[in-house]
C-alpha cells in the first residue's frame, strides 16, 4: 500500500518505467493456486511450479519468455531504481533469441475472476478514503483504497421498482444490500481487510425513489443504512479468507446517491453514490492503530459507474465469496 506513493510517485521511477511493460497483479493467487498462469509464475521464479507460502510481494523483472531477470521487495524508490537498472542491464545482455515471447499456451489463465465481469449489468468503481475529523485541508488528504462492485443484468434491474414512474418507491432486494454491506462498505482504506459474514450485518437497507421520468430516462434517488459488527469469529467456511486474521470490528454508515436508468436499454447510464460513516477495530493488517469503538475512524466511500479502462476490469476483492450463481468458480 505504501509503495504506491513511496516508489511509484517518484518522477525518476515513472520515467524509468517507460523502458518496461509495467504490470501489476495479486500475489496470493499466483503463489498458491493451481491455475496455469500461477504455475508458470512459480516455475519461472524458483524453477518449481508447486505452491509456496509466505509472501512474494515485490517487484519482478522478467524477459518476455518469463525468464526472471531481477526481483526485490522494497518501498524505497532508490532501491527500485537500482532494481530496474539491474534488470535493464541483464535484458541488454540477452541474445536476440533469448528475447522471444513465451508461448501463450504456457501461461494463459484457465480461470480469472475478471472473466465473470458483467457486460450488461452494473459495474461500479468504489473508492474509499479516511476523512480527517478536522476536515480536508491543504496539508493533504487521508489514505485511500479502491475496489469494484458487480451486479449482473437481473441484479441491476432489481435496483428499479417494477413500475418505473415518478414517486414509485422500492427497496433493494436484501441479498444485494447484504452484498454491499458485507463486501463493499468495509474498512480497507489502509490495507486488506476481510469480508463480513451475513451474521455480522445488523442492518443493511437501501431505499430507492423514482424522482423523474423523461422519455426513456428515469432518475432515482438512493438512500441507505449499513451497520455491521463482527465478534471476530470467522464464519465463511473453507475460503481463502479463512487464513486472514479475524478480529472484532464494526461499521456504521449511511448512503446517498442518484442514478439514471435507461428504460429501453434496461441499464444504468449514470450512477453515483456516497457513503459516510465510522469504522472501528479490524485485522491489524490494515495499518490501523488505536481505532476503537470509542475512537472510530471516519471514512467516505464513493461509488460510480466505471469507464472504458482496463483497470476497471478488476474483480471485487471478495468476489470469491459473493455466492452469486453467475460468478464462474475456478473449478467450473
Amino acid at each position: 500500500m505504501a509503495g504506491r506513493r513511496s516508489v511509484w510517485n517518484d518522477p525518476r521511477v515513472i520515467e524509468k518505467v517507460k523502458a518496461f511493460v509495467p504490470a501489476t497483479d495479486e500475489v496470493w493467487r499466483l503463489q498458491r493456486h493451481q491455475d496455469r498462469e500461477c504455475r508458470f509464475f512459480r516455475h519461472k521464479v524458483r524453477g518449481n511450479p508447486a505452491p509456496v507460502g509466505g509472501s512474494w510481494q515485490g517487484l519482478y523483472i522478467f524477459a518476455p519468455d518469463g525468464t526472471l531477470l531481477a526481483r526485490r521487495n522494497t518501498l524505497n524508490p532508490d532501491a527500485a531504481m537500482k532494481l530496474m537498472d539491474s534488470g535493464l542491464e541483464k535484458w541488454s545482455a540477452l541474445a536476440r533469441e533469448e528475447r522471444k515471447a513465451a508461448d501463450p499456451a504456457e501461461y494463459l489463465p484457465q480461470h480469472r475472476w475478471e472473466n465473470s465481469m458483467p457486460t450488461d449489468g452494473l459495474v461500479l468503481r468504489s473508492t474509499l478514503r479516511d476523512l480527517p475529523a478536522e476536515g480536508i485541508g491543504p496539508e493533504g488528504r487521508g489514505r485511500w483504497n479502491r475496489d469494484h462492485a458487480w451486479f449482473n443484468r437481473e441484479e441491476a434491474r432489481s435496483w428499479m421498482p417494477e413500475e418505473v414512474s415518478v414517486r414509485q418507491k422500492h427497496t433493494l432486494p436484501q441479498a444485494l444490500a447484504l452484498r454491499l454491506a458485507r463486501f463493499h462498505v468495509v474498512d480497507n482504506v489502509s490495507g486488506q481487510e476481510g469480508p463480513y459474514a451475513t451474521d455480522d450485518i445488523e442492518h443493511a437497507e437501501i431505499e430507492i425513489e423514482v424522482t423523474a421520468v423523461e422519455g426513456n430516462m428515469a432518475t432515482i434517488q438512493i438512500s441507505g443504512v449499513f451497520r455491521s459488527e463482527s465478534d471476530g469469529v470467522y464464519k465463511l467456511g473453507e475460503t481463502d479468507w479463512r487464513h486472514f486474521p479475524s478480529r472484532t470490528r464494526g461499521i456504521d454508515a449511511t448512503l446517498r446517491g442518484e442514478a439514471t436508468w435507461n428504460i429501453a436499454k434496461r441499464r444504468f447510464s449514470a450512477f453515483r453514490a456516497a457513503a459516510h460513516g465510522k469504522a472501528w477495530g479490524g485485522s491489524g493488517l490494515n495499518g490501523r492503530r488505536g481505532v476503537t469503538r470509542e475512537q472510530p475512524a471516519a471514512i467516505g466511500w464513493y461509488f460510480e459507474l466505471v469507464e472504458d479502462d482496463p483497470r476497471d476490469r478488476l474483480a471485487p476483492a471478495f468476489i470469491d465469496v459473493y455466492n452469486a450463481d453467475w460468478v464462474i468458480q475456478p473449478d467450473a
Partner: protein, 78 residues
C-alpha cells in the same frame, strides 16, 4: 486513454473547497474529497492489470516486463 486519465486527475486535484465538512448529501463535494487527484501520479503509469496481459504485451513490444505484486491487487483493494 491514459492522457484522458491524466487530465481527469489534474482537474480533480484537491482545491480549497475540499475543506468543507461533508455531510453525505453533496455528491460533487464527496467525489472531490474521496477520489484520487494529481497527487497520485502513479496512476498515470499505463499498468496492465494482470501477469498474462503484461507478458503478452512484453512479447509484442519486445520490452522486459516490470511486474508489481502485492497481497490484494495494487490497482484494486490492497
Amino acid at each position: 486513454m491514459f492522457l484522458t486519465t491524466s487530465l481527469i486527475l489534474a482537474l480533480s486535484f484537491p482545491t480549497p473547497i475540499d475543506s468543507v465538512q461533508l455531510d453525505g448529501h453533496d455528491l460533487d463535494a464527496w467525489s472531490r474529497a474521496v477520489l484520487p487527484g494529481a497527487e497520485e501520479a502513479w496512476l498515470t503509469i499505463p499498468w496492465h492489470a494482470t501477469l498474462h496481459e503484461g507478458l503478452r504485451a512484453a512479447g509484442q513490444q519486445q520490452k522486459p516486463l516490470l511486474l508489481w505484486l502485492m497481497n490484494g491487487h495494487p490497482l484494486g483493494c490492497t
